[in-house]
Symmetry: C2
Subunit: 364 residues, 2 copies
């Protein structure tokens, strides 16, 4: 297992009265600093401020945040615990709107509580901690499977372009788009990655370049605007990104700039793939027009690095995400394999197969 995978993006420390430890990703690449999170407001802030980010990692953070919210419930009345559970889920669900893993994880915690019915408070708390840990472990397993499913997409000596950070730092381990890179690298295949720096918060240059360097993968940072030139020069053979939410038809919300890459890839006849676990699919919405797009603080553009880089009162348009229509996506790399072509039927068929896998995991 490569060095990078031993990084603990987020973990639970101790028993039901324990806490969460996570890498503060806002401090990378300058410093590798861990923060401890002891209550839901701190978790909400960590998600909002992108100390933890990446749709799958946010899902894990939310599930663990639920357990934190139940820590001081000493009452023996299960009804009080259930009420608190609802409140905490409601609260954490507001931290970020676009990624679906956040609500997916919270729903899963609620369902687990429902399944346990009128068990006593201690049993419920323990079961919910187990569930949060299971979400983390399953995410690691899914990411590993994504890597295996997608690695053959990277041909020897290929140039792979990625955007934002869809790596180990965005998930429990391995990542999604980067899991594919790690799996190809583990097979000893030579290739190079171009990492879009990914304005405004530079997850590509700060996190992706850092992760790939740690793993010994050849990585070159570029400004987001340089992707087109590289494609025209024939240096890109594959574009591979993660996802924050995938609608039933395959329309995909991901970091702002992903749509532009997909259009550019199409214009240069370069395959564009999205890698994501099944927890990132939202089959309740038919297409991408139903995905809420988070708007970020304009100061992330105007003062993103502590220095004024635009007139102080300049208007900014600062969406965190855009939506890439399914027709621009050659395939979706999931833990159940590659879905291609991308459409409502192929997705529904593949995720049905995934459900069967899931049941096997759950029976372990």
């Amino acid at each position: 297992m490569a060095a990078e995978t031993s990084l603990k993006t987020i973990e639970w420390v101790g028993g039901v009265d324990g806490f969460v430890r996570m890498i503060d990703q806002t401090r990378l690449p300058g410093e590798l600093v861990h923060v401890e999170i002891h209550d839901p407001p701190a978790m909400w802030e960590a998600i909002r401020q992108l100390r933890v980010r990446g749709a799958p990692a946010i899902g894990i953070a939310a599930a663990m945040g639920v357990v934190l919210g139940l820590r001081d419930v000493n009452d023996t009345d299960v009804a009080i615990l259930r009420k608190r559970l609802d409140e905490v889920c409601e609260y954490l669900s507001t931290a970020r709107p676009t990624g679906v893993n956040l609500t997916w994880a919270l729903q899963r915690m609620r369902r687990r509580a429902d399944a346990l019915g009128q068990s006593d408070v201690a049993t419920l708390r323990r079961a919910l901690l187990d569930e949060a840990r299971r979400i983390r472990d399953e995410d690691a397993a899914m990411c590993h499977a994504i890597g295996q499913a997608g690695e053959s997409l990277i041909r020897p000596h290929a140039g792979v372009l990625t955007h934002c950070n869809a790596g180990g730092l965005a998930t429990a381990e391995y990542g999604t788009a980067l899991a594919v890179c790690y799996a190809a690298h583990e097979r000893g295949r030579p290739f190079r990655v171009f990492a879009d720096e990914t304005r405004p918060l530079l997850q590509g240059s700060r996190l992706t370049a850092w992760e790939l360097q740690q793993a010994g993968i050849d990585v070159t940072v570029i400004c987001d605007s340089t992707a087109g030139m590289l494609m025209r020069r024939g240096e890109i053979d594959l574009v591979l990104t993660g996802a924050d939410r995938i609608a039933a038809n395959g329309d995909t919300a991901n970091k702002i700039g992903t749509y532009s890459l997909a259009v550019l890839a199409r214009a240069h006849d370069i395959p564009f793939y999205v890698a994501a676990p099944s927890s990132t699919f939202d089959l309740s919405i038919p297409d991408g027009s139903h995905i809420p797009i988070e708007q970020r603080d304009p100061d992330e553009i105007r003062r993103g690095f502590g220095r004024l880089t635009a007139p102080p009162q300049a208007k900014c348009f600062a969406p965190a995400f855009d939506v890439t229509p399914a027709e621009l996506i050659r395939g979706l790399v999931t833990e159940a394999g590659i879905i291609s072509p991308v459409g409502t039927e192929s997705i529904s068929a593949a995720l049905g197969a995934r459900e069967a896998c899931q049941n096997i995991w759950n029976r372990r």
Copy 2:
């Protein structure tokens, strides 16, 4: 005349023993600071460090830099002055490689000296200062004419996307792409501009947004990666950029990211125009493959804002420019009118007409 046009991007102060005063554009938008330039090395540094930037403004800076280089020639031997002239031209031509206005202006200074033959040193120095000032004044006149030629491209309530800074700060006055905006604004036409921030040096957010705000034009800053999403939402009706060098067939070198915008514009059926004076055309090269592309210091990406934003040793690919092929350009807005369609013949015909204009100017 709008407020912004009274900004003196670059000017000569005093007589033949005078100096250059320019806005230090690296300090904007935080501070409006002027620097004085007294010798060629200081001018070389100012061009290289982008204190003065924009192809037309660099041409003016180079011409004035030549005059600075002759300031301490007190000898009465014209041969010594001519030798110094050659040395200074050679030296300044290395400051930046892509924009053609730099070499164009230096050649023009040499031609002026040639035309004066064996005049005495004092006459030559005065004539060369006059020539540098004429380059500046002609640039202002050409930019004004570009605005008039292009203003009808901006329809009422249009969304105009621009990249980098092709404004008054990039030229003597008015700008090129922004001259078109200023001319439409002077006619009272309502429209809005989206300014790509333009990584890595943020000329869009630092300079274009600042200039347009000063002029009272509605401007919104976006990250470069957001352009595609805005086009898909139907918010962009026109893409308008400047140019650093235009080959005989219309292939255009401009700030890195311009090519991506042109591809995106084509995919969304949005007209893409380039605005530039005739001094930006290089008819000596048949197409864009002959344009040298400047590579910048990777630390402009890794530490662009004084803070480490990538691993310190991260490889970066940092071209300052890319080349947009002529077939993606709907038209070239020049002081001689709009050249459309764009091709070797249409350009040659239009610039022939321009030469006639130029002769009229020169006879003034």
